[in-house]
């Protein structure tokens, strides 16, 4: 019972960390590309 509860708690913690990271990155990461520079497209966002 205790290990089940512990597992559930850990699962909740990881889910929370996942949702937090997803939210943070989505905010930083709008789905807009800069038009690549053909001579050096490594530098595009």
């Amino acid at each position: 019972m205790i290990s089940w509860l512990l597992n559930k708690y850990q699962e909740w913690q990881f889910e929370r960390a996942f949702q937090k990271k997803k939210k943070e990155l989505m905010k930083l990461d709008p789905f807009i590309y800069n038009i690549p520079d053909k001579n050096n497209s490594k530098k595009e966002d």
């Binding site: 699962e11 889910e15 990271k21 997803k22 990461d29």
Partner: protein, 188 residues
Amino acid sequence: MFFGSKTPIKKDKYFINLGDSHAASYNLPIESSYPYLIAKKLDLGYVDFAYSRTSIEYSDYALNTVDFTKAEFVLWQLAYPWRKHNWNTQDIQKAREDNIKSLTLKESFKIFAKVISKYKDSNVFFIFINQEYTTRYLKQLVKLNDKVFSENIEFIDFGFDEKHGGVNSQKLIANKMCEFLIKYDKKN
């Protein structure tokens, strides 16, 4: 929309580099990037399909535009699982369709497990960078395919944008991956 490839180091023996901005030497000189450092250490060339803000399905598509079995190996940095790629657009600005906003941790496991299982019998190695939540199920993913690197690599320094790994992080990734690849090669 497919962005093509580059060949930063051309040699008969080469590997293929896949992933998003973390694999694409984002805002760093290419000579400091981990794929370049790995190529130098292993005396190989490499073909680079990595591209910023792309998805897992994008990497999968890019890999299958070539006969990847001719490469010594493929090094695939798995992108964030909530990204979706739009194949239908001809407009580069719309190439990434959207994020799957409702994605759960369990669903992210399924996305990773699917691609990792698909390449189980191929010479494709997988790494996670900056995805600490994967530690919840990384052991399970390694059980599915032992070519998954068993830790999520966190940055030890940052590039100027403070979001991507800096020079020391690139060195760390290169060292860890070379060690992993050599160990795997000896074991098999």
